[in-house]
C-alpha cells in the first residue's frame, strides 16, 4: 500500500513569500539489488549470479558507455533513460553560453505498460487515502 503524508514548503511567488501544502509518498526502505536479483532468478532459469553479473551490471555498463557517447538507452520492458541538461534562462539568445548549463541529467521514461500500471495505482492510492482518513 502506498502511504501519503502532508508536506509544506515556503517559497517566493511573484515577489511574495508563501507557504504551500501538498501530499507526498511516505518513503519506505527500497528493494535492494540483491533482492531484485533473487526475485528475477526465481522467475527464470538463471542463477542470481547470472542475473547480477551478466545482466544488471552489463546494462549499467552499457548505459555508462552510451552516456559517454551522448546517447540515451532503451531498457526493454522497463522503459528508457535519456540525457538532458539543466540550464539557466536568459532574456536574449546571444547571452546563452556554456556557463548557463548547470548540470547534466539522466531522465527515466517508463514503458507504456509501467505507465498504465502507475495510472491504476493512482486510483488505489486515492481510495486507500480516503479510507484511512474516514477511520
Amino acid at each position: 500500500m502506498v502511504n501519503l503524508e502532508p508536506h509544506s514548503v515556503t517559497q517566493r511567488f511573484q515577489k511574495e513569500q508563501q507557504t504551500i501544502h501538498f501530499l507526498q509518498v511516505r518513503k519506505i526502505r527500497a528493494l535492494d539489488f540483491a533482492q531484485v536479483c533473487r526475485q528475477i532468478a526465481h522467475k527464470t532459469t538463471l542463477t542470481e549470479g547470472e542475473v547480477e553479473l551478466f545482466v544488471l551490471t552489463e546494462v549499467a555498463q552499457m548505459v555508462v558507455e552510451n552516456i559517454e557517447d551522448g546517447r540515451g538507452t532503451e531498457l526493454g520492458a522497463l522503459g528508457k533513460v535519456e540525457l538532458s541538461i539543466e540550464a539557466e534562462s536568459r532574456k536574449t539568445s546571444e547571452e546563452l553560453s556554456l556557463d548557463t548549463v548547470k548540470r547534466m541529467k539522466l531522465i527515466f521514461k517508463p514503458s507504456p505498460k509501467i505507465k498504465e500500471a502507475l495510472k491504476e495505482s493512482l486510483f488505489r492510492i486515492k481510495r486507500d487515502y480516503n479510507k484511512k482518513n474516514e477511520e
Binding site: 528493494l31 546494462v59 549499467a60 551522448g70 536568459r90
Partner: protein, 134 residues
C-alpha cells in the same frame, strides 16, 4: 565525445522575472535500442537472447510491483527508482484532498557511476543555428 546543446525559447512563468526567455537544451545523439542492448549482453555473457528479453520483462515486473506498493528499487550500478506523486498544492493544509493528486510517477536517481560518467562529459554548442520554440 562532447554533448551538444541547442538554443530554445520558452515561456517562464515562475521566479523573480517571468516572461519569454532563452535557454540551452540538450541535442541528443540518438539512443541505443532494446535490440542493441540485448545483443550487447548476449555477446558479453553466456545468456541467450530469449532469456535476456524475459529477464528485462521480469525486471520491469519487479519494479512495477515494488513501485505500485510505494517501495523504491535500488539497482546498484544503474540507480534507484522511487515512486512519487505529482500533486497540486494548496495555500491551506485543510484544503488538501485526493483530488489534488494528479499523477503517480517514478523518480530515477542515477548511480554514482552514471553521475560520474555525466560529469566527465564535455558540452559544446550545436551547429544547428535555428532557435526552437518549446
Amino acid at each position: 565525445m562532447a554533448y551538444e546543446y541547442r538554443k530554445v525559447k520558452r515561456k517562464i512563468s515562475l521566479g523573480k522575472d517571468p516572461g519569454e526567455k532563452y535557454l540551452a537544451a540538450m541535442s541528443v545523439a540518438g539512443k541505443k535500442t532494446n535490440a542493441d542492448l540485448i545483443e550487447h549482453i548476449e555477446r558479453n555473457s553466456s545468456i541467450a537472447k530469449e532469456d535476456i528479453t524475459i529477464l528485462f520483462r521480469d525486471l520491469a515486473a519487479v519494479v512495477e510491483e515494488a513501485v505500485s506498493s510505494g517501495q523504491g528499487v535500488k539497482l546498484d550500478a544503474l540507480g534507484t527508482f522511487s515512486p512519487n506523486i505529482r500533486t497540486k498544492s494548496e495555500l491551506k493544509a485543510e484544503d488538501i484532498t485526493t483530488d489534488n493528486i494528479q499523477k503517480v510517477v517514478i523518480n530515477f536517481r542515477p548511480s554514482a557511476e552514471l553521475r560520474k560518467a555525466m560529469d566527465k562529459a564535455a558540452v559544446k554548442e550545436s551547429t544547428q543555428n535555428k532557435i526552437q520554440h518549446i
